[in-house]
């Protein structure tokens, strides 16, 4: 059988025409370009005779000849590997086809081969028995070619190993003793078990012609195991035939199918098993959902991973109410920051421990962390104990509450000293203690030696004989810092210090992160087993199944739940490879159990088979390539003709005319089309907002009363001028704002002249003001009634209006500005805050944790008071006209008082913009002094 033949050899006779084509091509010159040329006489004088009729150059003719030859050859249709009908007659054609995972890569070629055999059988008018080895049902009865083709088209490879015994039994029943004519076994080349006698059994059917058709066995590779090592994931890969050395790239994918890490497995020459590693950081390996062999797009090339790789879910409990405004004081802050990159963190939604503990444990965490919880409620404690005994881990941090707790707490790994506190009781150090090196048995062994960590307080363990082996970390004096102990299937871990910085600086160090990470890593991944208590085994429903192409798909109805003890066995039709369980926890059921090998199908003694390669490659026609070649030659010929005709020369000669302009136009159009279309996300009003943001503006509330608003505007203008003149703050024009509509967050402070005669702001506007104050803004209310209120009688109308406004606002407790408040030191040193009127106090938010300290000239406080209330009519004192002259007289008329009013305004602005900065600054000399010693 020749490897090369022409489908239409007669066409080759056209090759004799080539010399004629040659002759024609040589004679025909290209068509000239016609030009009118008035100075014809002059041209004719120098061009006396027509030069030799322009012949095509020989190489151009050669190109054209090649083109003609290519077309002739293409029409003749050369074909590689033509096949012939060699089917044996005398019995039905029997096709045994492996549609296993290993056949997926070249499945189409297998189908082509089988289809060719079916065609042949149709030509000989033979019935066909068709059986697939990886199916649940087998129908081997002889059928005609049409239905055989239908069944072949409907068949698809399965992500399963072959089950040839059943297929053979079905075949034997169907043939019922009739010896087949040709028996073709389209095998995947793998033995189905230790002793696969398929070939012998097929031979026993007495076929007249027994063919074994195999694909490329070298391509059959499968991943059989993946083990998460200390610093890398090692993957065991096995191959069917021990060939030459081969390097296989490995890729790890996360749950969404994205490749996250890569490695290689290198087969040594002659070896069938190789181990590859995927080196990746621990937290990345957590995300691995499956490992696949690159370029092996079948189920064998994919190894599914399950819960062993999942991130731990960590629950938190804290003894004290968390103040979100002071996170650095909360132990949970440090734990969260340390663990967030490595674990999923869950926190209780309520502070009540009896509710929070079940709530957290219902979410099935791997680890429960309790920071400074002395004693749990009875039922919560039982619940935690059950959690630990079922395999959970409890990490506890000490603290004042734990130290004060009774000693019979069952949820601590070691016995703590009764009623003792680390400090002030039995234990008192002259100086803080550093850590000693970690014991070798500790999971912390191997970490960088602790350095710079100082422990100021701790809770102490009673010395017991097994204390040393329960200790993971020691202080320099030998007292334990971290102790552990088992409880049921779980584990208790106790840090003898608090998780915040009050007792030690451990939470600030990187060692804290590493300790927590290693500890959490010791815990068991959450999952179904823990939910079930680990005792009773239950069958897992199929969750995601592996397709034959090595991807995961939703479970189909054919898969049955996986018995819990079935994990680690080979995949069957009932339990195809995939993930079993639920989204929350699942078990990976892989195609090949760990440690299994794949063996080639050996031909036993006494069996004579005709080995054949798959078809598929056979019908490879050269026709398209030849036509492509001819087309390319035609293109080249066109270019050459254009070049010889002077197209490109002329275009070069006239760079600014037509063609160049066309090129320019094309470039412009292209560049326009290629210009990235930027999304226009501008909104109306952006300009105004940007201009407000570029410069700080003072803002006042427009009350609607012309005179009040005018004074406000002029007053803030006066303050703006004063600020610009005296300070580095140069505000823009004052802005009147409508609190019900305008954006408030652009302004650091809003001046609100309260006027009883103005309209009451709507509740929506007041809630906007409330949100503004919560968001860090400050409202300066000015009732301007200090003078009115002098009579000492009931509150003025403006004050009543203010009370009405504040009634719906969530405002903090207020106090008059204390003498040591930073407001009195922000820029000028002030004792009072006069406006047009003097004597009225300026009310600000009270600082509750007020500690009288005569040595501190200004009290440091966090944040800025969201509200200020005065009655002194600041704007009236600040108001100036266009010439800079004061608009209103002060009461009493005293320019010194006006100057103080301006100074008060400056201090308020500085306080707004710098917060407690000045309170720190005034301490700089003292700080320097203390640092210097």
């Amino acid at each position: 059988m020749s490897a090369f033949a022409f489908a239409a050899p007669a066409v080759l006779a056209a090759l004799v025409l080539l010399p004629a084509i040659w002759w024609l091509l040589r004679l025909t010159p290209p068509k000239p370009l016609t030009e009118v040329f008035p100075p014809f006489a002059i041209l004719a004088a120098i061009l006396k005779r027509e030069e030799t009729p322009a012949r095509s150059p020989w190489w151009l003719t050669l190109v054209r000849m090649l083109m003609a030859a290519a077309v002739i050859f293409a029409i003749a249709d050369p074909v590689f590997n033509p096949r012939a009908n060699t089917l044996a007659s005398g019995g039905p054609l029997v096709l045994v086809i492996d549609n296993t995972w290993a056949s997926a890569t070249d499945w189409q070629r297998r189908v082509d081969t089988a289809a060719a055999l079916i065609d042949d059988a149709e030509g000989r008018d033979l019935p066909i028995s068709l059986v697939f080895t990886a199916e649940r049902q087998h129908d081997a009865g002889p059928v005609d070619a049409a239905s055989a083709r239908n069944r072949l088209a409907a068949a698809e490879p399965r992500p399963l190993p072959a089950d040839r015994t059943q297929a053979l039994a079905a075949l034997r029943t169907a043939l019922d003793g009739t010896p087949p004519g040709t028996l073709a076994f389209l095998s995947d080349g793998m033995a189905a078990g230790e002793d696969d006698d398929t070939l012998s059994a097929l031979q026993a059917l007495n076929p007249a012609d027994f063919r074994l058709v195999t694909g490329d066995g070298l391509a059959t590779v499968a991943a059989t195991a993946a083990v998460n090592g200390a610093d890398a994931l090692s993957v065991t890969v096995t191959r069917l035939e021990a060939g030459a050395a081969r390097s296989l790239p490995l890729t790890a994918h996360d749950a969404r199918g994205r490749p996250v890490a890569a490695g290689t497995a290198d087969f040594a020459a002659g070896e069938t098993v190789a181990t590859g590693t995927i080196a990746a950081p621990f937290e990345l390996r957590n995300d691995f959902a499956r490992v696949s062999l690159d370029g092996v797009a079948n189920a064998g090339g994919t190894y599914l991973l399950d819960d062993g790789f999942r991130r731990r879910r960590v629950a938190f409990l804290s003894g004290e109410v968390v103040d979100p405004s002071q996170p650095l004081l909360s132990p949970l802050h440090y734990i969260t920051r340390a663990l967030a990159p490595y674990a999923d963190l869950i926190e209780p939604s309520v502070a009540d421990l009896s509710v929070a503990v079940p709530e957290l444990l219902d979410q099935n965490p791997s680890v429960l962390i309790m920071a400074d919880i002395g004693r749990l409620p009875e039922e919560a404690q039982d619940r935690v104990r059950r959690f630990i005994e079922a395999g959970g881990m409890l990490i506890r941090f000490a603290g004042p509450r734990l130290a004060a707790a009774p000693a019979d707490d069952p949820l601590v790994p070691v016995q703590l000293r009764k009623g003792e506190r680390a400090l002030g009781g039995a234990l008192s150090w002259s100086e803080p203690q550093p850590l000693s090196a970690y014991p070798a048995s500790s999971p912390f062994a191997g970490m960088r030696a602790p350095d710079g960590i100082l422990i100021k307080r701790q809770v102490l363990a009673e010395p017991t004989p097994d204390l040393a082996e329960r200790t993971w970390a020691n202080l320099a004096d030998g007292t334990p810092l971290v102790t552990t102990g088992p409880l049921g299937n779980g584990r208790l871990v106790l840090f003898h210090v608090s998780a915040e910085t009050a007792w030690s600086n451990l939470p600030l160090s990187g060692d804290f992160v590493e300790m927590l990470r290693r500890t959490v890593q010791l815990s068991r991944g959450g999952g179904v087993a823990s939910q079930a208590g680990g005792a009773e085994q239950q069958a897992l429903p199929p969750y995601r199944l592996l397709t034959v192409n090595g991807t995961l798909a939703a479970a189909t109805g054919e898969a049955k739940p996986l018995a819990a003890d079935a994990a680690g066995t080979i995949a069957t039709f009932d339990n195809p490879p995939g993930l079993y369980g639920t989204e929350d926890g699942y078990v990976a059921h892989n195609l090949l159990p760990p440690g299994s090998a794949i063996r080639p199908l050996a031909v036993p003694e006494g069996v004579t088979v005709l080995r054949e390669a798959l078809a598929g490659k056979a019908a490879w026609s050269l026709k398209p390539e030849l036509f492509t070649l001819a087309a390319l030659l035609l293109l080249a010929d066109c270019l050459v003709v254009l070049f010889m005709g002077g197209a490109f020369v002329a275009a070069r000669r006239r760079p600014l005319r037509g063609s160049a302009a066309a090129v320019l136009l094309a470039v412009m159009v292209l560049s326009l089309a290629a210009a990235p279309a930027l999304a226009d996300d501008a909104k109306p009003g952006d300009e105004a907002i940007l201009s407000r943001l570029d410069t700080t503006h003072l803002a006042y509330v427009v009350t609607g009363e012309t005179e009040v608003d005018r004074i406000s505007e002029r007053g803030l203008a006066g303050l703006t001028e004063f600020l610009t003149y005296r300070t580095t703050l140069e505000p823009g024009e004052p802005v009147g704002i409508d609190i019900s509509a305008d954006e408030l967050s652009l302004y650091p402070i809003i001046y609100w002249p309260v006027s009883a005669t103005a309209a009451m702001p709507s509740s929506a506007a007041i809630s906007r003001i409330d949100a503004y104050m919560r968001g860090g803004g400050t409202v300066l209310f000015d009732t301007r009634d200090q003078f009115v209120a002098l009579d000492g009688s009931a509150a003025s109308a403006n004050t009543e209006r203010l009370q009405a406004i504040l009634a719906t606002l969530d405002i903090p407790p207020l106090e008059p500005v204390p003498a040591d408040h930073v407001l009195t030191k922000a820029f000028y040193l002030l004792n009072d805050f006069p406006g047009r009127y003097a004597g009225g106090p300026l009310w600000i938010e009270a600082q509750l944790d007020r500690a009288e300290d005569p040595s501190r000239p200004a009290r440091a406080g966090d944040g800025v008071s969201p509200i200020m209330i005065t009655g002194n009519d600041f704007a009236g004192a600040w108001a100036i006209d266009a010439n800079g002259a004061a608009l209103l007289p002060t009461v009493p008329p005293d320019e010194r008082q006006r100057n103080h009013a301006f100074r008060a305004g400056v201090n308020i602005m500085m306080y707004m913009l710098t917060g407690n900065y000045k309170a720190d600054q005034v301490h700089v000399p003292a700080l320097l002094e203390r640092l210097g010693q």
């Binding site: 000239p32 370009l33 016609t34 030009e35 009118v36 040329f37 008035p38 061009l47 002077g646």
Partner: protein
């Protein structure tokens, strides 16, 4: 590839006239230097910067014995002891013949040029007519229009052209009598000997001549490449060049030789030669002709031996 050159239709005279008037507006009035006093010179209305018959005062000069006493200007003479004669400025008109070649070879425009040669020649012709008419010269067109002295001579010349068939390669000189100037616009692509055979007799009759050779840029730079078939617009003859770009240098030499020969021969006749390309402004040629007509390249064309 589109051809470089094309044959164009004759330009409508009316359109050319308006363009010509726009051109003419750029050029000052032309004082034709009428050096030859002849019977073609008749009284016109512009001064000749010399004394003679006319209406405008030119100069006072002392009375010479023998002159008619009626010439004495008594008013001036009464102011001192001498007797003065008032001279008047000589005012005279000159006849200028203008002619443009409108043969098929002029109906040509290449992609390098703005307009066809015929269009440019007509514009130049009418613009010159406009300028000269403004100066009161008598303008004629050989074979088409007798000389007239009128302000609207350009319009009348255009009208005459409109009603006249296309002119041939060289002017019909039967109308021309006596000494006058002739301005010829054309491409003068005929062999130099043929051209001179026609122009020589004119010069020998004392006619001053100015030749403006209108040329398309393509005729000069020869921007052809590749296999090209050239056609003569006059005769329809064809010739094929295998690789036209190789002819470029030879053609440039032949062209330069032709133009030089033409210019030299014309100079020997005492005529001026103005080469003009259609990718240049029409005003350039117009200014050059204007200068020659007003004698500003002083007597350059008339000196013997040049």
């Amino acid at each position: 590839m589109a051809p470089v050159g094309e044959t164009v239709k004759p330009t409508p005279t009316r359109e050319v006239l308006s363009r010509a008037q726009a051109r003419a507006a750029l050029i000052p009035d032309c004082m034709v230097e009428a050096r030859r006093l002849a019977n073609t010179v008749i009284a016109g209305w512009h001064g000749r910067r010399k004394r003679g018959i006319g209406e405008n005062f030119w100069q006072f000069r002392p009375y010479v014995d023998g002159e008619s006493l009626t010439n004495v200007d008594w008013r001036r003479s009464a102011r001192d002891d001498h007797t003065y004669v008032r001279d008047r400025e000589w005012e005279a008109a000159h006849t200028v013949w203008i002619w443009a070649d409108l043969s098929p070879s002029m109906m040509y425009k290449s992609t390098l040029a703005l307009v066809s040669k015929e269009s440019r020649a007509l514009v130049l012709m009418l613009a010159l007519a406009e300028i000269l008419a403004r100066s009161g010269e008598r303008i004629g067109c050989p074979g088409i229009m007798e000389p007239i002295a009128a302000r609207n001579a350009a319009e009348r010349l255009a009208t005459a052209l409109m009603h006249h068939a296309a002119t041939g390669g060289l002017p019909d000189t039967r109308m021309i009598r006596g000494n006058s100037d002739i301005v010829l616009f054309g491409d003068f692509l005929d062999p130099v000997d043929d051209v001179m055979a026609r122009l020589g007799p004119l010069a020998r009759r004392g006619l001053g001549g100015h030749v403006v050779a209108v040329t398309d840029p393509a005729e000069e730079v020869f921007p052809y490449a590749g296999r090209t078939e050239f056609t003569d617009p006059e005769t329809g003859e064809r010739i094929t060049a295998g690789r036209a770009e190789t002819l470029k240098d030879d053609y440039a030499r032949a062209w330069a030789a032709n133009r030089t020969a033409l210019a030299d021969n014309l100079r020997h006749l005492g005529w001026s030669f103005v080469p003009h390309r259609t990718d240049r402004l029409a005003s350039e040629a117009l200014v050059a002709v204007h200068m020659y007509l007003s004698g500003m390249p002083a007597t350059l064309a008339r000196e013997p031996g040049r």
